[in-house]
């Protein structure tokens, strides 16, 4: 079963599609949670997800706004989609009837 932060990262990467990379995923998570997301947590979780086969990463092209440095691009694999779907369904099932789910 995925962890909470792993689910956030998979979801953010899936939403971003072809534009999913480190800084963009970080921004998505911070916008969704309202809390800062550390680079350390982000990159170690990327490694963990890749080791589990849930994402694929590769080094993208450098850009001027990044000082000519490349991005670490992310794509969710079918196995990652399945894992995220499973997590989402589990959260929905366990949240049935609770007060905050009704609102």
């Amino acid at each position: 079963m995925l962890g909470e932060f792993e689910y956030l990262m998979l979801t953010a990467a899936a939403r971003l599609g072809d534009e999913a990379y480190g800084a963009a995923i970080r921004q998505e998570i911070e916008d969704a949670t309202g809390a800062p997301c550390s680079i350390g947590a982000l990159y170690t979780t990327l490694d963990r997800l890749e080791n589990k086969g849930l994402i694929k990463t590769w080094m993208g092209d450098p850009t001027p706004e990044r000082g000519g440095r490349p991005k670490r691009m992310v794509r969710v694999t079918p196995k990652g989609v399945e894992a995220a779907t499973s997590f989402y369904n589990a959260v929905r099932r366990v949240s049935r009837g609770v007060a905050w789910a009704k609102s």
């Binding site: 480190g22 550390s38 850009t63 706004e65 990044r66 440095r69 490349p70 991005k71």
Partner: protein
């Protein structure tokens, strides 16, 4: 002022990021630039990632092997040896600094004594340096990716393993009431003849600077210096750690007939043995080719 501080933060972030793999360093640095974080937050975030990466490396057995086989035993031996020789050298240095007159050189006895003092200090410094170099080389061989953490741990052991102990020189003389001779100079001695050679050994191994043939010559030098300085090495433990044993036939501690533990010599030489053992297959492959 704010710009200066943020610039310092970015410089520190860049410095710390060298502990990351090159690809990751570029990606992280680029992400932080794109997010327009200030320098200190960048430093904090990069430091956090470096700490996580280092912690993950310590899940392997190699860093622990380096800790148990090199850092703790050899750091402790070098801590005692360096402190003992620093104190003895400082005794001579402070004496000559306070009473020196050039006319002393006209007396054969003074010249012999001066030569003895200089030779003893140079030999001690040379022995410490080669022992420390072999420790650095071995650390970098066993665990390349955690070598800097291991080196810092080694430094902590060298500087703090002697807390609660003393030396014969320090007990017998009140020359050490001064801060410079009692505190500063011994620490400089340890830094110059233990920590600097340690880092040089690490760098030599990482960059492959030493040819296998030079390692054999170096091993011979280490062996000669160890033979010359092994009584001092053993004494530094006896007097430093109170490992008093038999006083020998003359019933007096501290004389040359006292039996001394032989294990410190074995321990101080095992990095050299390891370096030779790992250098020999490379040499054999070249010969066979």
């Amino acid at each position: 002022m704010g710009e200066i501080m943020t610039s310092i933060g970015w410089r520190l972030a860049d410095l710390v990021s060298h502990a990351l793999d090159p690809h990751e360093r570029d990606a992280v640095r680029g992400d932080l630039s794109e997010c327009r974080v200030n320098g200190w937050r960048a430093f904090h975030e990069v430091l956090g990632l470096v700490c996580r990466r280092q912690a993950a490396l310590w899940a392997d057995w190699r860093p622990w092997l380096a800790l148990v086989v090199v850092v703790l035993p050899l750091g402790t031996l070098l801590s005692h040896a360096s402190r003992s020789w620093a104190d003895n050298s400082v005794l001579d240095i402070s004496l000559y600094a306070r009473i020196w007159e050039w006319s002393y050189l006209t007396y054969p006895g003074w010249r012999r004594e001066l030569f003895r003092a200089v030779w003893s200090t140079v030999l001690g410094a040379a022995a410490l340096s080669v022992w420390s170099w072999t420790c650095g080389y071995m650390l970098a061989s066993i665990s390349r990716r955690t070598v800097w953490v291991a080196a810092i741990a080694f430094g902590l052991v060298v500087f703090f393993a002697t807390i609660g102990t003393s030396t014969l020189a320090r007990i017998r003389h009140d020359e050490f009431s001064g801060h410079f001779y009692g505190v500063v100079l011994p620490r400089l001695f340890r830094t110059a003849f233990v920590m600097v050679p340690l880092f040089w050994g690490i760098r030599s191994r990482r960059k492959g600077l030493i040819r296998p043939s030079m390692l054999f010559i170096g091993a011979a030098v280490v062996l000669i210096l160890t033979v010359l300085k092994s009584p001092g090495l053993q004494s530094s433990l006896i007097w430093g750690r109170g490992l008093y044993g038999d006083a020998g036939p003359d019933r007096t501690f501290g004389t040359s007939d006292d039996p001394r533990p032989s294990w410190p010599v074995v321990v101080i030489l095992w990095p050299t043995a390891y370096i030779l053992a790992t250098a020999m297959p490379n040499r054999q492959r070249r010969v066979d080719a």
